[in-house]
């Protein structure tokens, strides 16, 4: 050991796992919705990287879970944000089984595989429709995992037919409501917010567990951008 070498073994930044959970059921192929998601996500990526650079001690990893009749990972494994390229998602997964998506998501929120020293994971859920099967049991199971209940969860309702109650259940925090995107411009705005602010919030400091009245209050999010009425709602 050289004279003044820092004590201890290897040092590392803290992982932050960012999950996109995207409805890829058949209805998302209508009116350009899935293309709008792909375009908005690609446009948001540079901003996401900037947000990550402001928090250099968090190493951000991205995963995308598509869901429809069955869940399907669009990313084979967690990819580092620096080199991540958004894939061209397609809406070809049939109906909307949110329960199966939650069950699949849950498998990744135990410790292991989640590392103990990571920052709270972020989950952004996007959907345009209704769940075709009950999901409450799977949602409770997900929220009861060590990292599921502690994750930062936001949701974007794509179009007026999206089931806001389901999205609100997923968020499980009355202080945060689903963002409503009824046109591509709003989707761009909300995806940009959802890809940056939860990441910054999850990288912020510690807070007492359960001290506040709201669940998931260990991470506080700033308010999202206002939904402006452009008069051109498409969905």
């Amino acid at each position: 050991m050289s004279e003044a070498k820092r004590p201890g073994g290897p040092i590392a930044t803290r992982p932050l796992h960012f999950f996109w959970v995207i409805d890829c059921s058949g209805s998302m192929s209508q009116d350009g919705k899935i293309q709008a998601v792909n375009n908005a996500a690609r446009e948001a990526l540079p901003h996401m990287r900037s947000a990550a650079e402001e928090n250099p001690n968090a190493q951000v990893f991205i995963r995308i879970l598509r869901f429809g009749s069955t869940p399907d990972w669009a990313t084979r494994e967690a990819e580092e944000l620096e080199s991540f390229q958004w894939p061209s998602l397609e809406a070809d997964l049939g109906l909307t089984s949110f329960d199966r998506a939650l069950a699949e998501l849950e498998t990744h929120f135990h410790s292991p595989p989640m590392p103990d020293r990571q920052l709270p994971p972020v989950v952004v859920l996007m959907s345009d429709g209704m769940n075709t099967d009950p999901y409450q049991k799977e949602l409770r199971s997900f929220l009861n995992t060590p990292w599921g209940g502690r994750s930062v969860r936001v949701a974007i309702a794509i179009g007026r037919d999206a089931n806001r109650a389901t999205l609100q259940d997923f968020i499980n925090n009355p202080e945060i409501i689903p963002l409503e995107a009824n046109n591509p411009e709003a989707l761009v705005r909300f995806i940009r917010w959802a890809s940056t602010e939860p990441l910054k919030a999850a990288s912020s400091g510690a807070a007492p567990a359960g001290a506040q009245t709201q669940p998931n209050a260990n991470v506080v999010l700033p308010p999202p951008p206002a939904a402006t009425n452009t008069g051109s709602d498409v969905w």
Binding site: G8, G9, P10, I11, L119, P146, P208, A209
Partner: protein, 290 residues
Amino acid sequence: MKIIWHTLAASVRGRTHSRRDLPNQDSFQVYSGSTDLAVVSVADGHGATDYMRSAAGADFAAKAGKAALIDYLMVNAPSIEGRHVDLAFHRRLAGDRLPREIHRTWRQAVEDHLKEEPLTPAEEAAAERLTSAVSLYGTTLLSVLAGQDFIVYAQIGDGDILVVDDDQQVRRPIPTDPRLIGNETTSLATKNAWGDFYTIIEPVLYGPPAMVLVATDGYSNSFESADAFSQAALDIKAHLDLHGREWVEANLDSWLNETSELGSGDDTTLGLLWRQPTAKDHIEIHQAEA
């Protein structure tokens, strides 16, 4: 044979707070004025945005921990040669009394501060979100007292206490709290915080620790693994043996800065308690006698 304890501590502001122009929200206190005992007390003010007075809270906590431990020992267990120490009695008494005394002292300091420094409008809004003004001062606390008969470890919230024994084994005297995942921590600011303390008393008669490391979580969160963190304790002990106190003290700030900068980015505070004579002291004694 009398045990001579030594202490050393340092604290650095993390890059995350530097970038946001926030102060270091950690604090520490050490005591080794008497050769009978030594105390290290470190605290980590909560870093989430609403905890606007957590730096002050950490300062009050470190002081409350140090004072309560010293008072407890002086009143209940002064070291008297030949006197039997009832460890079971102290485990019961200290386990109940110390957390309550620390919490009471801390709350009093917070309330006095609130009277001297009323809340600003922004702080009032934060206090409403957190449900109380006291919450603004939220902090963890880790305090260790090493005496002639026993060692007391007291902890609320995240952070780490590692013991290095003479046989180079590293262990945790306080079990890991399963509630502390991600950025969540227990806190002195909660109403019945004394119930969230872990208080452990160990005898020193047979096998006192060679060194105790007390750190806020910015330190352990910087290491890739638990083993990498344990290695830090072993390396520091080796440095104390080989180079002595002054050399370690001269390098401690730069070690903490490097660790935090490349690792967690968090404020990082490290306190050390170790037993004399160290191996270096033995060498110096023998050289002086030669």
